[in-house]
Subunit: 476 residues, 2 copies
C-alpha cells in the first residue's frame, strides 16, 4: 500500500519548473503515454474520456449550426497540395508520405492528411452543382499528421486528433459570417464547457492559415503566461474554390464559384485544460468534461453500513446523470484524497459512520479546497448544483488570473519586459511586416490576435502612427 | 422538379443484377462516394450517421463490459510486425508504408496500421506490471488500412473505419471466456440493433485471424445468399503476450505471461444492413440505427394549416426522441414517397387537410408497405411503438429468409448446387485441410463457421468419418 502524500511529492513544483510539472501531470494521471514512434502519443482512457466529452459538446453545437458529420480519406495525392500555392508552401515540409503499398511502389506518392481542404474541396466540386446545393456544411473527426521536430503530449505531436469543419457558400458575406459564427461557437464552448476564457479575433497576415483570406483565432492564457492557440476558423474566400473548381449554376443559370471556410480544434484542448486550471496538486478538470465529476471516499470503511451507504449514494448520483466513482480500495483516506486531487476530480464526497448517522456528507471542492456539509437527502441535486458552481467559479478564477496579466507597452523594451514576466502585452502596430518580424526576433513573442476596437498612438517598434493594437505573447 | 418514379427507375433490378443494385443504392442514397485514390471511399453524412448510431450502441455495451476507449498511434514500426510469425505473414503483403516524412527519408519505414495488436501489445507490456493491473480492457475507434486489389464501398476498401478492442487477462480461461462474451455482445447487437440474424461460432484454422489461437465469427446471409463476415472476436492465447512481453508479477511474486484477446467490427456493417434488408425500392434501414426514423410528408401542403400541423407533429416527435424529418420541398407527394422509400426511412407519415380534420395521420411502413391510420393525439407513443414493431419484424423477416436458405449436403455436388442456388450449405467435414481446400477450389465456397452441436455421418469431400459440421457459403 502506498504512503500518504506519495503522489503530490512525485509532481514537480508548478512554480519552479512548469514544463516538468506538465510532463509529470500528463503521465502520472494516466492521461497519455509516449508512443513507440518519436513524437507520437497514446491517449489513455482517462485522457480519451475528456476528448469524448469535448466531442459530445461540440457535436451538439455543430448540429444546431446545420453542420453534418462525414468521413474523408486519410491519403491525399501529393499533387493536390500544389493546387493552392500558399497551402503547399505551408504544409509540404511537414507531410508524411506513403510511397509503397501492397508490396509495390505507388505511381504517385500519397500524403497522410495534415488537414483536408484539398480532398474535401475535390469532393465538394462534385457535390455542388446548383445554388440549391449551398450552403454545404460538413465536418469530420479524424486523425491528422504533421511531422514536427519538437513535440509534447497534446500540445504538439506528429499525429493528433481533431475535428475539421468545411463549408461552401454562395456569397463572400455568408461565408465570412459563418466563419465568425463558428468562432463564436468556439468561444462559448471554451468558456462554458472548459472554463477557459479566450481572446478572439483576427490573425495578422504573417500568422494566418496557409491559403486563407482571414484566420480567426482564440487565444488562451496558460498558467505560465504563454498563449495557447486553442482553435481557428478560416475564411478562404475563393482560393480553394478556384483551385478545386467548386462551381455551381446560380439562380439565373450562370456559372458561379463558391466561397469556402474551414474551422478546427484538436486534442490540444486537453493541454489547454491542464495548463489553465492545474495547480501544485495536479490536474483540475472542469465538471462539464471531467470523466469523473465526483468521487466518494468512505471514512472508516470497515464500520457497518459505510460501504452500503456509499454504494447507495453512488447509485443515486448516477441515476441523476452525475459521473461518479466510489473508491473502495484498501488505501487510506489521505492517500485517496491526494490521488483524486491529482487526477483533478472536481468534487470529493467523504462519507463516514458519523456523517451517515447525522444524514450528512462532507463535500470538498477541488478548485477552492473548501469543504461543506450537505444533507444526504436530496444529495443528487446538491452535488449537481455544487458542480455547476465549481464550473462557473473556475471560469471566473481563470479570467481573473488572465486579466491581472494583460499589460500595455509602448516600446520594444516594454514588450520584452511584459512577456518575460509572463504577460499578454498589448501594443500599437504600424501594420508592416518588418516590425512584426522584429518583435518575434527580439522578444520571442508573436502577434497572437488583433485587439479589435482598441487604439494606441504609435507602433511600439518603429514609432510611426499605429494602425492597430496587437496582443503579443510567447506561445505554445 | 423531378418526375414521379424517377429514383426507382434509376436503381438496377435487385433480382437481375444484385452488384449493380448495391452500387446504385449506396451512391444514389448518398451513403458514400468514391474517393480520389483508388479503393478509398468518402462516407457522406447519411452513411456516417448510421456509423455514429452503431458507435453509440456498441459503446454502451462495451462500457458495461468494463472496456474503456483510448487512442493508439496510426504508424507502427515495420519491425513490430515481424515479432509474431503468423501475424506478419497475414498482414505484411497488404500494408501501406510511410518512407518519408518532414522532408527526409525515415531511418525505419512505418506501417499504417492494418490492425493494432502489435502497438497495443507494446503499450500493454508497459502498463501491465502486477496481477492488480489485470484484466486490462481497452478499445479504440479508428481508421485502418489494408491495400486491397478489388474494392467495393463499405465491403472492402483500402481504408476503413472500425473499432478494435484489446484485452489482457491473467488466465487462459478468463481470456477465452471474454472473447466469447464479446461474441455474444456482437450477436445481441446485430439482432436487436441492426435486425440481422447471425450464425456465430469458431472459424477453421485456415480461416482464422493471423496470430490467433481461436477466431470466433458472426456470419450474416445477404439477399443474394452470400455470407458477410460481420465481426470477429479472437482468443490469442499467449502468442502476442510472448512476442511483446506482456508480463506481470503474480500474487505469489512469480513472473507470469498474460493471455490476450482482440475483437472488432467495421463500417462493413453498413454494407451488411444494405444487403440484408434492401429491396427493389432501395434501402431499408432498421429504426435503431436509421439516421431518420420517420419522415412527415404533407398532402396538399398549400391548404391552410397543413404545414403548421406537420411542424407541430415534428416538434412533438422530436421531443419524444424520434429522429424525424419534415419534407416541405416543392416536389410532389408521389416523388417524395419514392425518394424516402429509396433512402430506407422506416416510417412515413402522410398528413393532409382531411387527416388533420379527423385528428388522424396515415403511417406507412417501409418494410411491409402497410398503411394504417393512427390518432394524432398520442402520436409520439404510436410512432415509437410502430418503430419498435418494424424493428422486430425486420429481424424476423430476415431470419425467415435465411432459414429457408440453409440446406444440407453430403457430397461436393450437393455443396456446389447449394451455394449456386444462393444457400448456406451445412456438410460434414473430416477435419483435414486438403478437403477444406478442395471445396474452395471447386465451389468457390469457404468454411464460414463450425455448426456446433450438429453431427453428420461423413465428410462431404473424402467420405471419411465426419468430425465436424461446417457451414459453407460463398462470401464477401
Amino acid at each position: 500500500m502506498a504512503k500518504e502524500g506519495q503522489f503530490v511529492e512525485q509532481i514537480a513544483d508548478i512554480n519552479a519548473d512548469f514544463p516538468q510539472w506538465y510532463t509529470d501531470v500528463v503521465l502520472k494521471t494516466k492521461l497519455v503515454d509516449y508512443g513507440p514512434v518519436k513524437g507520437t502519443m497514446v491517449i489513455r482512457p482517462y485522457g480519451y474520456a475528456i476528448w469524448e466529452n469535448i466531442q459530445e459538446q461540440l457535436n451538439a453545437r455543430f448540429r444546431k449550426a446545420g453542420v453534418q458529420n462525414a468521413y474523408f480519406p486519410l491519403l491525399i495525392p501529393m499533387s493536390y497540395f500544389t493546387k493552392e500555392a500558399e497551402h503547399v508552401e505551408g504544409f509540404a515540409p511537414e507531410v508524411a508520405v506513403v510511397t509503397h503499398a501492397g508490396g509495390e511502389e505507388l505511381a504517385e506518392p500519397l500524403a497522410i492528411r495534415p488537414t483536408s481542404e484539398t480532398i474535401i474541396g475535390t469532393m465538394m466540386s462534385k457535390w455542388v452543382q446548383s445554388y440549391r446545393d449551398l450552403p454545404l456544411k460538413v465536418n469530420q473527426w479524424c486523425n491528422v499528421m504533421r511531422w514536427e521536430k519538437t513535440t509534447r503530449p497534446f500540445l504538439r505531436t506528429s499525429e493528433f486528433l481533431w475535428h475539421e469543419g468545411h463549408t461552401a457558400h454562395a456569397s463572400a458575406e455568408e461565408a465570412e459570417e459563418f466563419a465568425l459564427q463558428m468562432l463564436g461557437v468556439y468561444k462559448e464552448f471554451m468558456e462554458n464547457c472548459l472554463a477557459i476564457p479566450v481572446l478572439t479575433g483576427r490573425k495578422t497576415e504573417k500568422e494566418r492559415f496557409a491559403g486563407a483570406v482571414a484566420t480567426y483565432t482564440m487565444e488562451a492564457m496558460m498558467r505560465d503566461g504563454k498563449s495557447l492557440q486553442s482553435g481557428t476558423s478560416h475564411y478562404m474566400g475563393q482560393n480553394f474554390a478556384k483551385a478545386f473548381e467548386i462551381q455551381y449554376q446560380g439562380q439565373e443559370g450562370n456559372l458561379q464559384t463558391a466561397y469556402t471556410t474551414s474551422f478546427g480544434v484538436s486534442t490540444r484542448l486537453i493541454g489547454a485544460i491542464i495548463m489553465t486550471h492545474g495547480d501544485e496538486r495536479g490536474l483540475l478538470l472542469p465538471p462539464v468534461v471531467a470523466p469523473t465529476q465526483c468521487v466518494i471516499v468512505p471514512i472508516a470503511a470497515r464500520k457497518g453500513g459505510v460501504v452500503e451507504a456509499c454504494e447507495k449514494l453512488k447509485t443515486e448520483l448516477e441515476a441523476a446523470g452525475v459521473r461518479v466513482a466510489f473508491d473502495n480500495t484498501d488505501n487510506s483516506p489521505g492517500w485517496k484524497f491526494n490521488e483524486w486531487e491529482m487526477k483533478g476530480v472536481p468534487v470529493r464526497i467523504e462519507l463516514g459512520p458519523r456523517d451517515i448517522e447525522a444524514g450528512k456528507m462532507v463535500c470538498a471542492r477541488r478548485d477552492t479546497l473548501e469543504k461543506s456539509e450537505l444533507s444526504l437527502s436530496n444529495a443528487a441535486e446538491s452535488v449537481k448544483s455544487l458542480l455547476a458552481q465549481v464550473q462557473k467559479d473556475m471560469l471566473e478564477a481563470a479570467r481573473a488570473r488572465r486579466e491581472s496579466r494583460i499589460v500595455y507597452a509602448d516600446d520594444m523594451a516594454g514588450i520584452l519586459a511584459g512577456v518575460e514576466e509572463g504577460n499578454f502585452v498589448k501594443a500599437g502596430w504600424c501594420g508592416c511586416r518588418a516590425c512584426e518580424d522584429k518583435i518575434k526576433e527580439e522578444t520571442a513573442a508573436t502577434a497572437r490576435v488583433y485587439a479589435e476596437g482598441e487604439t494606441r498612438e504609435t507602433c511600439a517598434v518603429c514609432g510611426e502612427k499605429a494602425k492597430h493594437v496587437i496582443v503579443y505573447a510567447r506561445a505554445y
